[in-house]
């Protein structure tokens, strides 16, 4: 497949606006500005693009709600919080191809009639902040941002906003609270941000990778775009591969590539001649898969059929030497730390699960611990206020389902079989 999101990134100066323009950059913006906002949204809807931030929501639909809302000003927010452990794709776009994101944002802003855009960048990416600041300045200098873009009477401004280290701020309503200068705790939905977002105004929140698809959709049109990926989930996808593979990294492949192909063909397979033990396919809030399930196609629709989820496309590969209980323990420490504290099932549930796993790791010989983990998990899934608490137990529950003997030997023999 031709590279779309990672086009030209081998060029050491790919982030530079001159290089970007030389390779056809900002041409699609001009095309878009000659279309009506409604036409652009129609094209994006037809393209079948789904949000790459994890939920897979159809992008065009969200835009349509915002465009139709009578309130103004409207806001376009780029979610660059990239906090799901195992994920590093948005960082690559922002480091190597930042003008693609900016071009996508301007087109999106025009399509929903937003005059202001925010990039909410995670605090852990200080070196990306430097790059984006320069990118935004370059775009202003060339007249792609500002009061009268390319002389077409369209106004759009982008402001860079940096987070301060809270995973929950990746959740769109918590992100909005954070932009407003508050603690990042999720809001109740509805109302959805598309109608009532930042400062109470219609706001579209989109992931970096989602927005970076937009120029290409305008360039080749929805019909051609639909030929990439699967009919239900079209387009290219950035898969992040880390852990025990020969070639970790970001791979741009058609949506729906199998996990096996990604791991073995692209990432080179398991390193050091070891055996594959398990894979976390979409970041640590998605369920783990045993080796016999890696023929799944990595997209939003099919992964649930294999008992997991695409999530952010963050594939963590583990070889036979890994203790899965330690992995679960580390993941729970993360969720307990990142729980925003707003609701009890998540605030307390993550801590109780963590303590239980730690007790099993100490070999405390309590058979009922497995059952209590399952029970805690189901309560958290059912009763947590937002997806953080609902998905925090996924890794543990799926590990119990697929690798129960590993839990049992920790409990009975006080040791790890691996």
């Amino acid at each position: 497949m031709e590279k779309i999101l990672l086009r030209n990134i081998e060029n050491p100066r790919s982030a530079d606006i001159k290089e970007y323009i030389k390779n056809g950059g900002y041409k699609d913006l001009l095309l878009a500005l000659k279309m009506q906002p409604g036409e652009i949204i129609e094209e994006v809807k037809r393209s079948g693009l789904r949000g790459r931030g994890g939920s897979g929501f159809p992008t065009g639909l969200k835009w349509e709600v915002a465009l139709r809302d009578p309130k103004s000003p409207k806001y376009l927010i780029c979610n660059a919080d990239e906090g799901e452990p195992g994920t590093f794709k948005d960082r690559l776009i922002m480091e190597k191809n930042p003008h693609l994101l900016i071009e996508g944002m301007i087109i999106a802003g025009y399509a929903i009639k937003a005059e202001y855009g925010y990039i909410y960048l995670r605090g852990e990416y200080p070196y990306v902040k430097k790059i984006l600041s320069r990118t935004i300045k370059e775009a202003y200098d060339k007249g792609y941002l500002g009061e009268d873009i390319m002389g077409r009477g369209v106004k759009f401004h982008i402001k860079l906003y940096q987070g301060a280290g809270a995973y929950i701020c990746g959740e769109e309503t918590a992100l909005i609270e954070s932009i407003e200068g508050k603690r990042g705790q999720p809001r109740i939905k509805p109302p959805f941000p598309a109608s009532t977002g930042v400062w109470g105004m219609p706001s579209v929140v989109n992931n970096v990778e989602t927005l970076s698809n937009i120029p290409y959709i305008i360039e080749i049109g929805a019909t051609a775009y639909l030929k990439i990926g699967t009919p239900e989930c079209p387009g290219p996808k950035l898969y992040c591969v880390s852990g025990h593979v020969k070639r970790p990294g970001v791979y741009e492949l058609p949506m729906g590539t199998t996990l096996r192909e990604i791991i073995y063909t692209h990432a080179g397979g398991v390193r050091d001649g070891k055996r594959l033990k398990a894979v976390i396919p979409g970041g640590i809030s998605t369920p783990i898969l045993p080796p016999q399930n890696i023929d799944c196609t990595m997209d939003f629709v099919n992964m649930p059929r294999y008992g997991s989820a695409l999530g952010s496309g963050a594939i963590i590969v583990m070889d036979e030497t890994v203790c899965l209980l330690k992995v679960c323990e580390r993941a729970l420490r993360f969720f307990a730390h990142e729980s925003c504290g707003k609701c009890t099932p998540c605030r307390i549930g993550t801590k109780r699960m963590l303590e239980t796993i730690q007790r099993i790791l100490r070999g405390a010989e309590r058979d009922e611990d497995i059952e209590s983990l399952l029970e805690l998990g189901s309560v958290m899934d059912a009763a947590s206020f937002c997806p953080l608490g609902q998905t925090a137990p996924n890794l543990v529950i799926s590990t119990i389902n697929h690798f129960r003997e590993e839990f049992e030997s920790h409990i009975k023999e006080g040791r790890c079989p691996s």
Binding site: G123, A164, S242, P248, I284, V327, H337
Partner: protein
């Protein structure tokens, strides 16, 4: 240690920079931290007065976000990731190394005030795990030898 009056001038000028901006608290606290290495209590006090935001609300925000520090730290901040990808690639060994070689504990500072250590959740460098930041610089594919060599650059 900066003189009190000099310190206040810096805080006042930062407050001025953000005074008319909506949602200004988070970037303002960040700038204060960049200037002093942490968020001093008198800064919260002044912000509260100038921007007319109750101190309790400011502390609510300042304690919510993991990257704000409330005590002075070392000259250089090491942020080492130990989340899953880094853990399975050996981050725990690096935590032990920092402890044995430099006497650095999680959240602690070396006696000579040269380094502080923060244990991080994922910092988006999982393909080069284990990874860390030193101040604003990113380093990946870490080993004990490599960490030692990198830290030499930070005096």
């Amino acid at each position: 240690m900066k003189q009190q009056s000099e310190k206040n001038t810096i805080i006042e000028s930062l407050i001025k920079k953000y005074k008319d901006e909506k949602g200004n608290v988070i970037p303002l606290l960040q700038d204060i931290q960049d200037a002093f290495g942490y968020i001093p209590e008198d800064a919260v006090d002044l912000i509260s007065k100038r921007l007319e935001i109750p101190e309790s609300k400011l502390y609510g925000v300042a304690t919510f976000y993991a990257m704000y520090r409330h005590r002075p730290g070392g000259r250089h901040l090491i942020q080492l990731c130990t989340n899953v990808s880094c853990m399975i690639m050996g981050a725990e060994m690096l935590v032990n190394f920092l402890k044995n070689r430099y006497g650095l504990e999680e959240g602690g500072t070396t006696p000579d005030g040269r380094f502080s250590l923060m244990i991080m959740e994922c910092i988006g460098g999982c393909d080069t795990a284990p990874s860390m930041l030193v101040n604003n610089d990113f380093y990946g594919n870490l080993t004990k030898e490599k960490i030692e060599e990198i830290l030499e650059k930070y005096k």
